[in-house]
Point group: C2
Chain length 450, copies 2
């Protein structure tokens, strides 16, 4: 029986951040991270292994932050937990006794119940080095790829694959638009336009009826009857939390099957914490459980858990997920945080929106000048900022994080109206037409008319 | 005698923003803007007319926001004010009676008392279309340009001119480093390195003794005796507020010669407001008068004045300048807001700093990956954020505005430690090493050790 003070199971971003945070908060404690993979792929880098990164080898999370912070690293697979005796058992036969346990086992892509989903040539986006290396080889040899699911993984994959010559790419999305659960319509349409310009075919409002092939995928049949030729299919319709490890314990799960946690990331069992994709996430605005699995959320949860292991620190709680997310499609940055107009309406918020359009440089005659669109969502009664969406070129990459902070600080349109913004001709919109200020101003005019 | 409700004198960014804001807040009022130039150049775009913009014509502020908002535009030069009778007189003989007056007359470059400063071939950076068009022609024909003053105008000019083949460029800066009043040393040295890589010669810690030439500039003599050959000299050592218009009035000026104003941008005379470079600026942290002339500050002041013309709006005050500023030197973004470490120390603040280094992409194997450095300054007693500096590539352009908002919202290191940040492999640093979070964490460790 081995012994450690703080045991972390899972070596993805959440596990690593929690280990480093724990060691910084409790330097006298022994911290051990156990993961079941020799090499851990960077999850959000996966779409880019197919072209920009040349290989899966280039998409590996370095272990140097663990080494630098004296975190013990063990490669093994946890098979069971005994929360009463505070012990975890592992595949190679080891047992580790802990004072505090953090479960960070992540998620696995959902395999939809589609006929033919198990035919050779049908793939998923698994966070597994060898699997992805094989998928990469298969993709490069393929001529027609059908991506099932137009969420952010599907969209990023499609754009990356469009950079490889000779592959016909089709996205099949059941909703009206790609990214429709993430952005309001104006932004989803713009994203689709960028993909279409890259030659990607988009089939929305339809599902896959079945996948056909003898030895290997040959065709995808859509619900309307349309037949798409395909020599490779990638299913990217979402992920489910990895909770096999807690099956024989008293640890509770939540509405979406993830491990239930409180504001300090504690599970229903004493001294056991859960973070990242395997834990249940709450919404920042409503406190309700939401099926969110994002790096922004996981990293924050990991920092909260790593700060509260031995004593709760007030103000260091998880205040709920802001659902903040960015993507990049052929030179267009799309960012979102908090509530979209559609989500705010469906959640029952009384809102006003403010929009602004400008250019990313000033004057607009500068080479490389491109349009910027910002949409803000405010509470109508208080003017509090609830959400934002942006699209624009690369220099607007960090813009969404201004708004993310503004929401976390409960900033109102009246605060944002007088924001001092750093501007530069080659780097930002003009100070006279700052989109965060102009969109706030536009919302205030609507509030004052009420 | 003409009559208007709201009269604005000055057509630069401050004047235009105040006019548009006034019209939006008081749509029933008649708003008139008088400026003395047919065409107004974009002030911060001036360095870029020499190469990237091809011409001064491409660096003109459009009048469309004035037209769209029904602001009357008159081209004339204000010559005197009668604040008792609320009347302004103009060069062409007109008089305009106003209810409310906003003075936005801007600034003029300082002509230093250097021997030879009036020789042909010695120029300044004037916000004047014809002058700049002539300067542009002269620069393009020149072989060796000496820029006197390594502040942001001097540095941006040097970088722009280094893009024109065949010009030898030298900056002369009296302080230890270029940009030394704006950034801490690590950042100024990095900026200088970028300039040196572009072939710019930098002479720091010395001043110009005299400028020599018969019909035209031939040489610049430095205080140490060094002789620099020069066929063109640009003096960029700062600017002074344009206050000639108030000379025969009771309107008071402040410590640095600008028009004194209160928190609502009201001057010492009733119904007269002043904004932008011609008005005195107060520091956000100390309330003291500071010699700041920046577009970020001017635009905010213009919005404050335009909101408070007829009745003061509480919470719509000028809370003081945050001195936020960005520049771009050969692919390196440099941004600063609030207090640098040096300024905080000289102003008497008890501080801790936190630094973080990371890359602008993740994984760092992605093409185009470059380093990012962030330095944050916090109050040691409260953990409140007081300042930030960043350097990194283009996708970090808006990063400084996250921190600018954080300061305005009185955010602490403890808030920033759990910030939810939107990240993307191609657009931002990794969520696991977010520089704003890691720099805050590093400061917290220093605070907790105290």
């Amino acid at each position: 029986m081995n012994k450690t003070d703080i045991l972390i199971i899972g070596g993805g971003p959440a596990g690593v951040v929690s280990a480093v945070t724990a060691k910084k908060n409790y330097p006298e404690k022994n911290v051990t991270l156990v993961r079941d993979k020799n090499r851990v792929v960077v999850p959000c880098g996966i779409p880019y292994v197919f072209n920009r990164l040349d290989s899966v080898e280039k998409n590996i999370m370095p272990d140097k932050s663990l080494e630098k912070n004296n975190v013990n690293l063990i490669i093994d697979k946890a098979t069971s937990l005994d929360t009463e005796n505070k012990t975890a058992s592992f595949e190679k036969g080891d047992e580790i006794n802990y004072e505090k346990l953090i479960i960070a086992t992540g998620s696995t892509p959902i395999l939809p119940p589609i006929e033919g989903a198990n035919i050779k040539g049908v793939w998923q986006i698994k966070k597994d080095f060898e699997y992805l290396a094989n998928l990469r080889e298969a993709v490069i040899k393929s001529k027609s790829v059908v991506i099932v699911g137009g969420g952010f993984i599907g969209v990023e994959l499609a754009e990356e694959l469009s950079r490889i010559e000779g592959i016909k790419i089709t996205i099949v999305e059941k909703l009206k638009h790609c990214l429709a659960t993430t952005f309001d319509e104006g932004f989803t349409v713009a994203a689709e336009e960028m993909l279409k310009n890259k030659g990607v075919e988009i089939k929305t409002g339809c599902m896959v009826e079945k996948i056909i092939g003898k030895d290997k995928v040959e065709q995808v049949i859509l619900t309307g009857g349309e037949e798409l030729p395909a020599d490779l299919v990638i299913l990217s319709i979402g992920a489910k939390p990895n909770v096999a490890l807690i099956e024989d314990t008293q640890i509770k799960t939540g509405k979406y099957g993830g491990i239930w946690v409180d504001e300090y990331m504690r599970t229903s069992e004493q001294d056991v914490f859960a973070i990242g994709d395997c834990s249940e996430t709450r919404d920042f605005f409503t406190g309700q459980h939401v099926p969110v699995m994002l790096a922004s959320t996981a990293s924050m949860e990991a920092r909260v858990a790593g700060s509260n292991l031995y004593q709760l620190k007030f103000l260091k709680q998880n205040k709920g997920s802001l659902n903040t997310f960015s993507t990049y499609i052929d030179g267009l940055v799309l960012g979102v945080v908090g509530l979209t107009e559609e989500k705010a309406n469906s959640d029952g918020f009384e809102i006003v929106t403010g929009e602004a359009q400008c250019t990313n440089h000033h004057p607009g005659t500068l080479p490389g000048t491109k349009p910027v669109v910002v949409k803000l969502v405010f509470s109508k009664s208080s003017g509090t900022l609830l959400g934002a969406q942006i699209m624009g070129p690369e220099n607007m990459s960090e813009f969404i994080n201004i708004v993310s902070l503004a929401i976390q600080e409960k900033t109102t349109a009246y605060d944002l109206e007088f924001l001092q913004v750093s501007t530069h001709p080659l780097l930002t919109p003009a100070p006279t037409v700052s989109p965060i200020i102009n969109a706030s101003r536009s919302a205030i005019e609507k509030i004052e008319k009420k």
